[in-house]
Amino acid sequence: MKVRVDSQKCVGHGRCYEIAPDVFLDDERGHCRIERDEVPPGQEAAARRAEANCPEGAIEIDDE
């Protein structure tokens, strides 16, 4: 499962790193930051939940 974040859309609601801290991190500004585009095994549900809870639709999950 791959994840992509559109940083142009992100405004720092912070739901992603609250819901899936093993997938999404926060930068200095409180915006979303990801270190790798591969979702760690076992984190698929959390990643999907983060995608579903971003009011800006900034997260894209790719199931391949």
């Binding site: 405004v11 720092g12 609601h13 912070g14 739901r15 609250e18 409180g30 809870n53 800006e56």
Partner: protein, 410 residues
């Protein structure tokens, strides 16, 4: 029906025949969900009885408006209504200028930053509870919901806790200037606002001077020292930011706490599920924000003629984006009228969306979460005083009268 029943029957709001809605009457703020439902189903673009502007309810329409500030602008001339001399920063400014201010302000209001003041907020919450826990009762608004956010605000800004009463007075002078007046009229209120506005500017001018002479590790010092594109902020810019923080940081959190506890006091099963399972806390904070949406609407000035959901909006109109309605839109939230702390998909708009996403959202969430934790750790069982009817202010949903009672050990 009897005369008693007729008096208690709520007025017809919204008026579906005329397509109008009154967002400012207390029975709306006390129980907005039925009004939202009617608007969503029958009148997704209604007209406000105050000001005659469009009121937009559907989630997809509200979010579209929030993401198009070039059409739905925040640059509105309401200085007279607020006692300000200039637009407040960054709320009353549009991108791209607004974006630059957010870049320097966001880091100070991040979730990480809020974690730094969490211990103080937790202490403050417990101190407030200490004062009334043995009495077995409290007036939640006056004894908790008002002082806690003020305490947090003063901590964050680096201002003395002794100024708490002064701050509340300054805030009330702008937001409810009519209180204490025998015969309030628009002119008298405007005078109080302008005078209060001057006192607010004077207060912060003094703090700016003091921090310039002796900088500290606080938000005021940061505002003085931070650089925006290589230049420090002017004194006026700092004042315009501080004014906004004063107005935006207090009532909103008070309203959120009040709405939450009115709900939890009246819904013991929901409350007990939360007390029993701490893993529900994050979901509960978000679900209560969605359900209650304490800031029910935000205004935007329409910049050009535009069609929204089949309705034609005209340039110059003041649109109200009804966040509370969009938060109960079935099209976005399945079973929108169910309050479900385990809700899977909750992209609520209680903090807005787009460029003006509430700067204080992480502060507010932290205050609410800490309150839910500490209160329920110490007073897990409580109810609204039997016979009492909570009263809500018009505008922001502040629960002005919320007497809570519980059994004491004594």
């Amino acid at each position: 029906m009897s005369a008693d029943e007729a008096v208690q029957k709520p007025p017809s709001n919204p008026d579906l025949e005329r397509g109008t809605v009154n967002l400012f009457e207390p029975s709306f703020t006390a129980c907005p969900q039925p009004v939202y439902r009617k608007l969503l189903e029958r009148c997704p673009v209604a007209r406000s009885v105050v000001g005659d502007g469009p009121v937009i309810s559907r989630y997809e329409d509200v979010v579209w408006a929030l993401r198009h500030p070039e059409i739905f602008s925040s640059e509105m001339d309401i200085q007279v209504a607020l006692g300000t001399e200039r637009p407040m920063i960054p709320q009353q400014i549009d991108p791209p200028a607004q974006t630059k201010y957010r870049k320097i302000l966001d880091p100070r209001f991040s979730k990480r930053r809020m974690a730094e003041i969490e211990p103080e907020v937790r202490s403050a919450a417990n101190e407030l509870i200490d004062r009334f826990i043995d009495a077995g009762r409290c007036q939640f608004n006056q004894q908790f919901a008002i002082p806690l956010p003020c305490n947090a605000f003063l901590s964050l800004m680096g201002l003395p806790q002794e100024d708490l009463a002064l701050f509340l007075e300054l805030k009330d002078g702008i937001i409810r200037p009519h209180v204490g007046m025998e015969a309030p009229d628009a002119e008298a209120c405007a005078k109080v606002r302008v005078a209060t506005g001057q006192r607010i500017y004077a207060y912060f001018e003094d703090v700016i001077a003091a921090r310039r002479a002796a900088p500290r590790d606080d938000l005021m010092s940061y505002l003085i020292e931070v650089e925006l594109q290589g230049e420090r902020l002017s004194d006026n810019e700092i004042l315009d930011i501080c004014f906004l923080f004063l107005l935006a940081g207090l009532d909103t959190v008070t309203a959120t706490l009040g709405c939450n506890f009115a709900y939890l006091a009246a819904n013991p099963e929901q409350r007990r599920s939360l007390v029993a399972d701490a893993s529900l806390l994050d979901g509960a904070v978000e679900e209560l924000l969605r359900w209650e949406t304490p800031v029910t609407a935000v205004p935007r000035l329409v910049k050009r003629d535009v069609e929204v959901n089949g309705a034609l909006l005209k340039a110059g109109q003041m649109a109200m984006l009804l966040l509370g309605a969009s938060n109960t839109d079935d099209g976005e939230f399945g079973n929108a009228l169910d309050v479900d702390f385990s809700r899977e998909r909750n992209r609520h708009l209680a903090f807005g969306a787009g460029a003006h996403r509430c700067l204080g959202s992480h502060l507010a969430r932290m205050e609410v979460r800490v309150t839910l934790e500490e209160w329920h750790r110490r007073i897990p069982e409580y109810e609204i005083e039997p016979g009492a009817v909570p009263t809500y202010s018009a505008g922001i949903r502040e629960v002005q009268h919320l007497p809570l009672v519980w059994k004491t050990g004594a």
